[in-house]
């Protein structure tokens, strides 16, 4: 009888109050992390896919509808979404996700960014004043964000504090074990010279201790000119690199050109969850990234 009443009560409360925290993630890595940490107490939606450039997203109708019903925004921040997120916040008419509200969570607010430009001038390309925002390429950063996100979930959903704590401990343990494995696997990569297409790999590079010897985009966000590319070719003659990497969402044109010119190897990395078929969650994202990077050294 008591079970019956309890379940009835539960059914009733789930009707009256929203049982799950509705999370609007700007990028798939944060949707995946939210799901890891929130389990069945949250629903997470990703505004973008792993095959879209997160700088250039349309503030489209479906996103306004999602933002209007969201309890929590989980985004990268550091101006990555400045072209579309502020508009969604304003159009949503949703007080919970405005700047400074508990439902406004920007991952880059909780880690120290690198690559803060010493000169803020648009002639230098599409630079981010707050620093390089592409933190999800390092599992170390992901862990720091996960911890902060856990406290935010606990703050928002008081009733399930213990649940989130337990999910966090579980995640932390699994993540650290995975990191140990990745680190072990990545030993042959230490000091490996590489070329990047766009500066969105800085955190991966410092985590794996790779060496960036060149960049195809002379200025971030500006498609490289023939001159820029031939400069890279010249540079590679002096300091050869093992391979060039670019994200799945980026145009392969520049990298392909370099491959043709210098017979350098090319690696298309998933960059985020959903960047390729193998990267289905955060764990497989790094599994896959590492196996792609290691392929060349076999």
């Amino acid at each position: 009888m008591r079970v019956f009443i309890t379940s009835l009560l539960l059914a009733f409360t789930s009707l009256t109050v929203q049982a799950e925290v509705s999370i609007f993630a700007c990028e798939p890595e944060w949707a995946s992390l939210s799901q890891e940490l929130g389990g069945d107490k949250v629903t997470s939606y990703s505004a973008t896919t792993g095959l879209q450039d997160p700088h250039y997203i349309q503030a489209r109708p479906s996103l306004i509808a999602k933002a209007r019903r969201a309890d929590l925004l989980v985004c990268t921040g550091a101006e990555l979404e400045e072209g579309w997120l502020p508009l969604l916040q304003r159009k949503s008419g949703n007080a919970d996700i405005q700047v400074g509200a508990a439902g406004y969570f920007m991952a880059t607010d909780f880690v120290q960014l690198t690559g803060v430009p010493s000169q803020l001038d648009r002639s230098q390309g599409h630079i981010h004043a707050a620093g390089n925002p592409h933190i999800q390429t390092s599992p170390v950063m992901v862990l720091a964000v996960a911890k902060a996100l856990t406290s935010r979930l606990q703050q928002l959903d008081n009733a399930n504090q213990a649940y989130y704590q337990q999910r966090w401990l579980d995640f932390e343990q699994r993540w650290q074990a995975a990191m140990t494995t990745w680190q072990q696997q990545a030993k042959p990569l230490i000091g490996m010279p590489i070329v990047v297409q766009h500066d969105n790999w800085d955190y991966l590079i410092s985590w794996l201790q790779l060496e960036k010897v060149g960049r195809l985009e002379a200025k971030p966000g500006v498609p490289p000119t023939v001159q820029d590319l031939s400069n890279v070719v010249k540079q590679l003659k002096v300091t050869p690199a093992k391979f060039v990497i670019h994200a799945a969402y980026q145009s392969p044109r520049a990298s392909n050109w370099l491959v043709e010119q210098t017979s350098i190897d090319k690696r298309v990395l998933p960059f985020t969850v959903g960047g390729n078929d193998a990267a289905t969650d955060l764990f497989s994202l790094f599994d896959n990234t590492l196996s792609l990077l290691l392929e060349t050294t076999k």
Binding site: L51, E82, G83, S92, N94, V99, H126
Partner: protein, 453 residues
């Protein structure tokens, strides 16, 4: 660590529970136990070594994690220039070449007022805009757009927009007050520099003199549905063309509804419907022909006016990745209905007018830095007055002519802050066909604005 406990239990079990014990077997048993002990000790040592190894690796990871310094304190507000508002300026300049004389430009069946004409021929400086915006406080957001442009040799300053808006009033409600672009059509809510062509669609030029703004209040509500549905209303003072005159209280009002969504990841769409009404008081038709050289008194309209708009937008990008490639289709249709009286000097006539038309434009961005597009405009009108002479005086004697225009545009976008645009129009706004060539640059400096869908 925990793995030691069961191990110890197993060892003690092995050592002490081997019973029964017989005297003559004792030495054998002793040897056996010693052997077992040695075995287990070796295994323990091995386990300890493995454990130590794992611990050092975990420590390495933890050290790395510790190296990620927490940000000094969450810098939540990312306002540009600390607390200064986000400031940006939009500059543009144009070179125009027309076959016909720009001063003779007219659209059959429509009376052009204000800035509705063509840009001057040759080099001209377009509108320079200064946009300021910021969150005002915990409740409000504010934005002002000041436009500077030359008109007959003098620089005019115009407040294009100056409004305050609630910041997440909750439940999907937003209230806006001040001067703002009316939510009457898809393009109308966008700044001219965000349009896909260098000039306004003919229907915008004909009905609003390019763009309709409202001085008043706007209320909008996004429904809590999976599908995006927004409904809203505005009330204004009714003095903006095609409204006119001073009204105490509400001079014009509008209702709108919008919906839209995604079809898979590649396709997005939006559909909008709106209806606007006003009661113009002495709306003047600037086209008034002067009789006998003197300054002509304009024909004026008094009565009721309503406009209905239907707009459709479709966007496509492979994988929804707009950066590399995308296609946009925009189509809008307007229908204006006038019912009232025309007056000119001491003449008076009852008048019923319909003006309608629309456009379809398709824009294809084929690489991050290049896009091209085509547009087709089509208009029509019907005017009935009890005195045809007044229609003629007001420039409304279209007699069934349908203005049309074909446009072709090519944009080069060195970055998201600059654009060079070339456009060719074949313009049949009146029976005098015209070929127009426009070359334009538009740049934006300062804060990075967000663009709506």
């Amino acid at each position: 660590m925990n793995s030691k406990t069961p191990l110890a239990a197993m060892i003690s079990l092995a050592l002490f529970s081997t019973a029964p014990v017989y005297a003559d077997d004792l030495s054998d048993l002793k040897a056996e136990v010693m052997q077992m002990r040695a075995d287990y000790e070796q295994r323990i040592v091995e386990l300890e070594q493995r454990l130590q190894h794992t611990e050092t690796k975990t420590q390495q990871v933890q050290q790395q994690v510790a190296q990620v310094k927490a940000a000094p304190s969450p810098v939540v507000a990312q306002s540009n220039n600390r607390f200064n508002p986000a400031i940006s300026a939009v500059l543009n300049g144009q070179f125009s070449d027309y076959q016909n004389n720009a001063d003779d430009y007219e659209i059959s069946g429509f009376s052009l007022g204000g800035e509705a004409g063509l840009a001057r021929e040759g080099f001209s400086l377009g509108e320079s805009e200064i946009v300021l915006s910021a969150n005002i406080d915990q409740l409000l957001y504010g934005q002002a757009t000041i436009a500077l442009h030359d008109h007959e040799g003098e620089t005019e300053v115009e407040v294009e927009e100056a409004f305050i808006e609630t910041l997440g009033l909750s439940n999907g409600m937003t209230v806006r007050a001040g001067r703002f672009f009316s939510p009457i059509g898809y393009l109308n809510e966008k700044h001219i520099h965000a349009w896909n062509f260098a000039d306004a669609p003919l229907i915008y030029r004909g009905l609003f003199g390019n763009q309709l703004s409202t001085d008043g209040l706007k209320l909008s509500y996004v429904l809590p549905t999976e599908q995006y549905i927004e409904v809203g209303s505005t009330v204004g003072n009714g003095d903006q063309h095609p409204g006119s005159g001073e009204h105490n209280g509400i001079g014009d009002w509008l209702v709108f509804a919008k919906t839209g969504g995604d079809i898979g990841t590649n396709h997005n769409w939006q559909l909008g419907l709106s209806h606007w009404q006003a009661s113009p008081d002495d709306r003047e038709y600037s086209g008034g022909h002067s009789h006998g050289g003197g300054e002509a008194e304009s024909v004026a309209f008094n009565g009721d006016t309503d406009i209905t708009n239907l707009s459709f937008v479709y966007k496509w990008a492979p994988q929804g990745n707009f950066r590399q490639q995308n296609f946009t289709l925009v189509s809008e249709y307007f229908y204006l209905n006038d019912d009232g009286k025309l007056s000119h000097e001491d003449e008076l006539a009852s008048y019923e007018g319909k003006q309608y038309g629309g456009f379809v434009e398709g824009i294809y961005q084929f690489s991050p830095q290049w896009k091209t597009g085509v547009r087709y405009d089509w208009l029509g009108s019907k005017h009935r007055a009890s005195d045809d002479e007044l229609l003629e005086d007001a420039d409304l004697d279209a007699s069934g002519y349908h203005p049309q225009r074909y446009s072709l545009v090519l944009d080069w976008l060195p970055s998201e802050f600059s654009r060079v645009r070339a456009q060719i129009n074949h313009d049949k706004s009146s029976s005098e066909d015209d070929t127009q060539f426009l070359l334009q640059y538009t740049i934006s400096i300062g804060a990075h604005g967000a663009h709506s869908f």
